[in-house]
Symmetry: C2
Subunit: 409 residues, 2 copies
């Protein structure tokens, strides 16, 4: 079902020096499914992350925040699918800690040097014994070229694995950026049931890492929505192993800095958009751009109102240019002093509405033609300022209902 | 599909003295469908209304606001289905005015004494000539006992007509409250593609009417959601014809005032809940009550997050007690300082979660049993105050997608 999203090929995914990945079946919830992934980092890597804004955040998210805040060097990540370890109360924290402690013992590091991640069903206890039992095999399996396996190992309702990789020259030295993501439902601003991991062998001043993770997420994972449900477990991690032999990037405005940031942004955005392309039941990839706002925040607010509207999304599914539903969503987006008489609406290059009413030039056949495409841009002009923002989303199909009505069974 | 909602019977709908209703086919959009309704009020009636908060409000909504604000006595309502006359710019206003002017000429009143209402497809021009041509027949057909016809005449995607009627004694005099509503999708707080009309022959001091309309809407139509889409056309009108022979109600705390307000509230709430029961594709009626909040607003915010979540709603459709999705919705509802460790969750009388984790007493079989019911109460206790609020919603089914993908065709 994924919209214009090809499965990754192992040959396209460049290993990142200083990082090995092991993927095994631990039997967390379903048989015959690789559900446990470890990332093992050489000493010296810099790691930063951003996490869900959901107040019901999962136990592993709470531990990640705490471990990153401890200032100890992160040396390993452990990811399980099947069970989210969210809504599990105090026991959930103990279970996640048990996994970190076990992995730390195997690696002869401190438990705070481990970041745990879980994705799956909420409010079921984490079968931590099974995960702990699976760790030795995962460690033994770890290799630098296991990115493809990892992209499969973290999937839940995803239909296509998501992995991207680019190389860029920094001061004449080739540097790699490779990442994977998962997520197909419960996708929304401020993260999603979304896991994203991006690694580079570039040398990045550790002081730049937190802001980098934030900026990358803001321009990628925090601009997508499938169903408006913000997950309990969303996590986005950026790792720099510092093993490439170029001068350390200390400033994003330098030539190397710009090139590296651009490569990181490209991979992050591809990973985020891949989640939308594989949105539960998605048949279309929709770019919603809102222009002419007073500030980016209000443009985003309008873009999300459009991107979340079940009526708009079902119209896209049906290829029905019932475009008044978009205007209705603009109207209820929450801008109290919005003047409908200044609003224009475009579908790709076709002007649909002008000054709040149907454009005299608009022909339904043109709307129909564009609605049948698999990639569509909705452009709304608010006519009240110079700001702009963009959100990516998908349509809403029968398949979404089927997937979410059957997920656990 | 409607959940435990019986069609109204003509004999149950008491006429309201001083109000006649005519319903005809004007051919607005589809053949063989009664699509034009007029309400004709005798002189002396008091009328008040509340309208959509959508900034893209329809032309008729703009005229209703203006006509009510003019202070002239309202003498007629005119309602068409098929076309919403929203997103129609300046021309839409002219078209709605043309309808009001034509009806006013027939009735020898001022156009500002007419309130217009439209519901249907957005951004299509109103075929005002056809509506104007249908007015004489509608006026000629007007009778006091046409409430059932009116409940059918205002339907769009509704599967069951919605009408309720009660009688109450005020100072020994029987007084009637009768109302109709329509709406099945685009239903959300702050009104919906929802039209509600409640009439009484009671004598109510005109100065009480605006606050009454607001209070009734707040406790009924503004507490329902089907899909989170706030329509461009929502309108709720309260009419008091002042023809019953009891002393005028000037104070809601009097015995008569309490009895009348209770009757009005009962009819308004039944009409609002009927919209949810007939929610597009609904198979279940869900009451979401949030308790223990600091104020009612934050309880409402949490209740709507649950009521809008596609993941929660598809789980209800599937009768799948995947109840962690409810906790996730609580977590992203937007209460920044919410502490998950204080949150309890009940499904009817079954405690599902305690202190943010699964309750030790919870058995999945109990959750399963309640999820299979057609009427379910979700109760969330926030554990941070004494406030409470309730919202009514429905589940999210394949049928919703089918209806909204096919609505125009």
């Amino acid at each position: 079902m994924a919209v214009n999203l090809l499965p990754p090929q192992a040959g396209d995914l460049h290993p990142v020096a200083g990082l090995r990945i092991g993927v095994v079946e631990a039997g967390v919830r379903k048989a015959n499914r690789k559900d446990l992934t470890v990332f093992l980092l050489d000493p010296g890597a810099a790691v930063a992350g951003v996490f869900t804004q959901n107040r019901f955040c999962a136990a592993p998210v709470q531990l990640c925040r705490s471990h990153l805040a401890s200032g100890q060097a992160i040396r390993a990540l452990v990811i399980n699918t099947g069970v989210a370890n969210a809504g599990t109360g105090a026991q959930g924290l103990l279970d996640a800690q048990a996994v970190c402690t076990a992995l730390a013992q195997h690696l002869h590091i401190n438990p705070q040097q481990v970041l745990p991640f879980s994705t799956g069903v909420i409010m079921e206890p984490l079968p931590h014994e099974r995960i702990v039992a699976g760790l030795p095999a995962a460690i033994a399996a770890a290799q630098a070229d296991h990115w493809l396996q990892a992209s499969h190992g973290i999937m839940t309702t995803d239909t296509v694995a998501k992995a991207f990789s680019v190389q860029v020259m920094l001061s004449g030295v080739p540097v790699t950026v490779t990442g994977i993501s998962k997520g197909a439902g419960m996708i929304r601003p401020n993260m999603a049931t979304m896991l994203g991991f991006v690694a580079t062998d570039a040398c990045i001043a550790p002081g730049l890492m937190d802001a980098l993770a934030h900026d990358l997420a803001e321009a990628s994972f925090n601009r997508i929505t499938v169903d408006g449900d913000t997950s309990t477990n969303d996590s986005f991690i950026v790792m720099a192993t510092q093993q490439a032999k170029h001068p350390t990037v200390t400033d994003w405005s330098s030539t190397d800095g710009q090139a590296l940031r651009s490569a990181l942004m490209q991979v992050s955005r591809q990973l985020a958009q891949a989640i939308v392309r594989d949105g539960e039941g998605a048949t279309k990839f929709i770019t919603v751009t809102v222009e002419g706002g007073r500030d980016a925040a209000e443009c985003r607010q309008v873009a999300y109102a459009i991107g979340h509207s079940p009526l708009v999304k079902t119209a896209f599914f049906a290829s029905d240019p019932n475009l008044g539903r978009i205007l209705a969503a603009v109207g209820y987006a929450g801008i109290a002093d919005l003047d409908q008489a200044h609003i224009d609406l475009y579908l790709d290059d076709v002007q649909v509405a002008v000054n709040g009413g149907r454009s005299p030039s608009y022909q339904e056949a043109d709307g129909q033609r564009i609605m049948q495409q698999s990639e569509i841009t909705v452009r709304v002009v608010l006519g009240r300022g110079q700001a702009t923002d963009t959100v990516w989303t998908c349509d809403f199909s029968h398949e979404y209902v089927t997937i979410n009505a059957d997920y656990r069974s």
